[in-house]
């Protein structure tokens, strides 16, 4: 059974067809790239999958269940996590609490346990804290655990967003330009990091990225969008030599690396 199955997905804003008849199937363990010029509709696809936007048409199935139109927090609890193109951390609280906050739906104590600090509260808080630290450790952020998230360097903030997404225990991870604004060395480390978490947390990954090298390097399959529609799909090699793709990019004054 596919992890994600999107059929004829559409979203219009006023007269603008931001996403138009979009179809995509992701199998378990795949890493698929979603590319396209600025304004193509990539982030809108993520917003539709995660429930931030209600689709104008079409369906989204996740692990065989229809999740179209569900509220974002319910979709998250089913196992879809994401990062944001413009980082959206809980900036004013600690790195550790950024991760611990999203453990919430899986916490095994109730409101009274919390108010009275019962043994159940103590045990669970310790477990959650250790688990959060382990996640931070895996992303090399453990030493910043008690730092305010806002004080992290840009690259650390991007990694913290990934850590926070992983803390929801997703099956499917959506990454929206995780390497934006990074230098080549940092991009290389991000590629390794994505490979590592994919293995370790058994993820299926959908990746939006403008850095072609990164997409070509990571993805087995690439989907190219322009004006809300899919204009090409294929292996990195096929995409690199596809004239339609080249035209979409060159038409916008960009080049495919």
């Amino acid at each position: 059974m596919p992890v994600l199955e999107i059929n004829n997905l559409s979203k219009t804003f006023g007269g603008l067809k931001a996403v138009n008849n979009f179809n995509l199937t992701l199998d378990e363990g795949e890493v698929v790239g979603l590319i396209g010029p600025n304004g193509a509709g990539k982030t809108t696809v993520f917003n539709l999958i995660t429930g931030l936007y209600k689709p104008t048409g079409g369906t989204i199935n996740f692990c065989g269940e229809d999740i179209t139109g569900l509220q974002p927090f319910k979709i998250s609890q089913r196992g879809i996590a994401r990062t944001f193109q413009n980082i959206r951390l809980f900036k004013g609280i600690t790195v550790l609490d950024n991760v611990r906050a999203v453990f919430h739906p899986r916490i095994k104590y109730n409101f009274l346990d919390a108010l009275l600090r019962t043994p159940r509260y103590n045990v669970e808080e310790e477990r959650v804290t250790l688990e959060a630290m382990e996640l931070l450790g895996a992303l090399n952020l453990a030493h910043r655990a008690y730092e305010k998230a806002a004080n992290l360097a840009y690259g650390d903030q991007r990694r913290l967003e990934i850590a926070r997404a992983l803390a929801t225990y997703p099956k499917l991870l959506l990454l929206d330009e995780p390497a934006a604004g990074m230098n080549p060395a940092e991009v290389k480390r991000m590629v390794e990091l994505i490979r590592y978490i994919k293995q370790r947390f058994k993820l299926t990954v959908l990746l939006i990225e403008h850095q072609m090298g990164m997409v070509m390097n990571l993805c087995e399959r690439i989907v190219v969008m322009d004006f809300g529609q899919i204009i090409a799909t294929g292996t990195p090699l096929e995409i690199r030599n596809n004239p339609v793709v080249l035209e979409a990019y060159l038409g916008k004054g960009a080049t495919v690396a």
Partner: protein, 335 residues
């Protein structure tokens, strides 16, 4: 249940403070007037912690906190006036009733409004404050015991410093336990970024409503205590300026800091009293202007508030001992 070391130290500190006040009472250093001020300060601590949960920790802006404070005061005061006879059981039952009514009304207001992602709560609570004020001024037409525009008296004055102090201590501990739990973290994540919280699996409507109901119930509790310590309830004591009082305390103390709210609440009540003594009638006339000036100046001087989201170490949980460094780190992720 095993109490943590910090909780025990807090208890010890509270006992010490209590003993000190008692000693000052017996030696006559605290006049009944200043005792009343101190008791009022503790009542305001309870109410302000309520708004701290709503606005400071969950980020939901409310302009009608005093209306819930008044709802609790009138509910508890009237119930005890009619049914109680200075009986302690009735005192506590009426406090519970005051908190429950305030919480219930908050639920009715919060459910439709907090579903929305925008800042309608401020407007709704502002309007609600006006409705409550009108209700208090005219309530006597339905229930003569409420006294109407001239105010209500006759509630048994059974609350004293000892009781108020213990209640305040309990509230501080419960609020601390709420804030430093997964529920508090859910609320804080909403304050920080509601959309991100939603996408990360937090039922934002539910926790906004929870915070609002809890916070308003605390205001109601504070009001109920107030009604048992101040023989005369007047609608003007629960008007917009009083809501502004609570807001000022929470903002000046620093959003997201219990410590800030507690310290500022006490400081604020005493400051107002000193101003009242020094300025006399002028103070009453210029109250609104003084508030505004204090707020503007302090926001310019220290926009993040006095405690800027920090907590006194005794209130906050311990940091984890950093033994987790041994966790295998992904080789490529270091900078």
């Amino acid at each position: 249940m095993k109490l943590s070391r910090k909780t025990l130290i807090l208890f010890a500190g509270a006992a010490l403070f209590f003993a000190l006040v008692k000693a000052m009472q017996f030696s006559g250093m605290i006049t009944p007037y200043w005792q009343l001020v101190l008791d009022q300060a503790l009542v305001i601590v309870i109410g302000a912690l309520g708004l701290s949960i709503i606005y400071g920790f969950t980020g939901q802006f409310s302009l009608g906190h005093a209306a819930f404070y008044g709802l609790g005061a009138y509910t508890a005061g009237a119930l005890d006036k009619v049914y109680g006879n200075g009986n302690m059981l009735f005192f506590f039952l009426s406090l519970l009733a005051g908190a429950a009514v305030a919480g219930l009304v908050a639920l009715l207001i919060g459910l439709p409004i907090l579903r929305l992602r925008s800042d309608y709560l401020g407007i709704a609570t502002l309007g609600f404050g006006i409705i409550v004020r009108v209700g208090m001024e005219n309530g006597n037409k339905l229930f003569p015991v409420l006294g109407g525009a001239t105010g209500m008296s006759g509630t048994p004055q059974v609350a004293n410093f000892d009781l108020i102090f213990i209640l305040t201590l309990i509230v501080i501990l419960l609020v601390r336990n709420f804030i430093f739990s997964t529920y508090g973290r859910a609320c804080t994540s909403i304050r920080e970024d509601e959309i991100a919280a939603d996408v990360m699996g937090i039922d934002t409507t539910r926790y906004k409503v929870m915070a609002f109901v809890l916070g308003c119930a605390l205001a109601g509790l504070a009001g109920g205590i107030y009604a048992h310590r101040y023989p005369f309830l007047h609608p003007a004591s629960f008007d917009f300026l009083k809501s502004f009082d609570f807001l000022l305390i929470v903002v000046l103390g620093g959003l997201g800091s219990m410590t800030g709210t507690i310290v500022t609440a006490v400081g604020w009540v005493f400051l107002l009293e000193v101003l009242r003594v020094v300025l006399g009638q002028n103070f009453i006339d210029w109250r609104g202007v003084i508030y505004a000036v204090i707020l503007i100046v302090s926001i310019i001087v220290r926009p993040q508030g006095i405690f800027s989201g920090r907590e006194w170490r005794l209130l906050a949980p311990d940091h984890l001992k950093m033994a987790t460094g041994k966790e295998q780190t992904h080789a490529g992720s270091g900078n």
